[in-house]
Amino acid sequence: MTNNRALNEIGRYALILLAVVIAMVPIAWMASMAFKPVEEWTMSAGELTWWPRNPTFGNFEYIFTGQTEAVIISLDRTAVGPVIASLVTALFGTVIAVTVGTLGAYAVSRFKVGGNLPLSVLQLRLFPPMAVMIPVMIMWTYLGMIDTWWGLSLIYGIVTLPFAFWLMMTFFDEVPREIEEAALVEGCSPWRAFYRVTLPMVKAPLATTCLFVFILNWSDFLIALLLTTKDWVTIPVFMNELFTAMTGPMYGAKAALGLIAAIPPVVFGIIIQKHLVRGLTFGALKQ
């Protein structure tokens, strides 16, 4: 009886390890490329090396200072700008989405107002951003918001509003009504009951929602590609530019930048791992 249970265990581990390897190879390859010196960037098939023979921080130095002694051409623009752009726009996009989403979610969850709000917010989530680009482009140019951090943050706030809204609604539904009613009876107006009791109770879920929405904004490429030109270009768009005719794709540099871009969402993702299902399925499913 026990030996086929042992067999099951071995089988299980083998399959899982295979899946882990497949999941890790692309990330590992980019990580190793990020530390490879220029000469190891492109290899003829024969002696392709998995791990850099002599790892260097040259690539990071290159993208952040514009030049390093191994590479002859210097960058006309360093990666410092894009990193700041990504941070600022993702952060403010999150603030907009979470603030508007939380207020709306509480109102719908508690007072059953807002009629078609939940459905229309969901619809916003379902269709591709490309399908709204023309009006957005016209409005943003008319309002002078092209290539500005507030322009990009506003569109990020709108695009991720559905996630913040639905995530917070599921958390508010879990707050027992009696606790708010107790606050009302003890002297609070409906707003104070929200502000003094309900909001403090959902601090942790609020943090989770912020992280979740931040990951989404940080991961955008298309919107930034369209709405930014020079000053507020984000990391993914800047990566796309790191391609000079002469040397072809600057593998090492792009890999370094890619590594920097990949770390925050992976770290935040693991922190809010428990609530990912709830966020991605709009509360239809809880862990």
Partner: protein, 360 residues
């Protein structure tokens, strides 16, 4: 402290009826208990007083003043919810101070009142713990403390001790009664545990499907239920009923049962039921004279302090409650006689009580 009144109040939730045309007055400084089986509208009455619900029609009055439109915060009432509704992110002390903080009471005064209530409820050492770290009994005291910390118009409680285990419930109901007396508060207390209702109430109100079946002292309700419904819900094990017919002059006869009972009925005749409580049935082995009826033992339930003996008489089964632990064997023939002054006569049609006390 103030008088609470509902005048002709009706509240419906879509199709379901919460309460229907209720007239209710809770006197000042009274322990007023509302009893009824689960979901018959008891909590709706509390929510109407609190302003968490607005009546479809009728007036809600506190201290004689109509408060229909007022927000809960402006009604100056205090409430203990069934699941206690303590603020999970605040310590016990902060929970207690919350009502005073909301009403801008100066800090020194707040601390004084919080400590005063904490001592009275023996929760002094718990003040800096959060509810999650407290036991069921402790959380329950903190909830009561939060309701007592302010001189509110009245105190409302929705089955506050139903979640505690049996031992703690017995002690808590006595302590609640004593607290209410000491602090001179008008208290509206909802429960579906009939022993608890009988034990704590100054006056008891029996609810049936959103309407009032009867209001009176526990003794009145127990000894003179105004209808079969009230007689059934109050008293455990429940009252026995013998179906039969009422002839002229109040003679009651049940087929298959040679029971001769006459009641003072002013001419009412037709189908009726005699109700007798289990503790008013006497069982004897030998046949005494008088109106004893032959029966056989159907079932014996020893409950320690007393024993519930089920007797099959004719085609109906009556349950008697005998103190102590009498030994009966199933099927043993015995004789049962009823305490005549405690027998009630109900009209089968509407269940209303026609008379109490029969002659052999």
């Amino acid at each position: 402290m103030a008088k609470l009144e509902l005048r002709g109040v009706t509240k419906t939730y879509g199709k379901t009826v919460g309460v229907a045309n209720i007239d209710l007055t809770v006197e000042d400084n009274e322990f007023f208990c509302i009893f009824g089986p689960p979901s018959t509208g008891k909590s709706t009455i509390l929510r109407l007083f609190l302003g968490l619900e607005t009546p479809d029609s009728g007036e809600v009055c506190i201290g004689g003043e109509v408060v229909n439109g007022r927000l809960p915060a402006e009604r100056d009432l205090a409430m203990v919810f069934q699941n206690l509704a303590l603020f999970p992110h605040m310590t016990a002390g902060e929970n207690l101070a919350f009502p005073l903080a909301e009403r801008k009471t100066p800090k020194a005064e707040r601390e004084r009142r919080v400590n005063e209530v904490a001592d009275k409820l023996h929760i002094g050492p718990l003040l800096n713990k959060i509810p999650a770290h407290l036991s069921g009994g402790e959380r329950q005291r903190v909830a009561i403390g939060r309701a007592l910390v302010r001189d509110s118009n009245a105190l409302l409680m929705d089955e506050p001790i139903s979640a505690l285990d049996a031992r703690l419930r017995e002690e808590m109901r006595v302590e609640l009664k004593r607290l209410q007396r000491e602090m001179h508060r008008t208290l509206v207390y909802v429960t579906h545990d009939q022993e608890e209702a009988m034990s704590v109430a100054d006056r008891l109100c029996i609810i049936r499907d959103g309407g009032i079946a009867q209001i009176g002292t526990p003794q009145e309700i127990y000894n003179a239920p105004n209808s079969r419904y009230v007689a059934e819900v109050i008293g455990a094990p429940p009252m026995n009923f013998i179906a039969g017919a009422i002839g002229e002059g109040g003679a009651f006869s049940a087929d298959g049962l040679d029971l001769a009972l006459t009641f003072k009925t002013n001419g009412a005749a037709g189908p009726g039921d005699v109700g007798v409580r289990p503790e008013d049935i006497v069982i004897e082995r030998e046949a005494p004279g008088g109106h004893a009826v032959a029966a056989t033992i159907y079932e014996v339930e020893p409950l320690g302090g007393f024993t519930v003996v089920a007797l099959s008489v004719g085609d109906s089964v009556l349950r008697a409650q005998i103190t102590g632990q009498p030994q009966f064997t199933l099927g043993e023939p015995v004789h049962l006689s009823l305490a005549l002054d405690k027998c009630h006569l109900f009209a089968s049609a509407d269940g209303a009580r026609i008379a109490t006390g029969a002659t052999g």
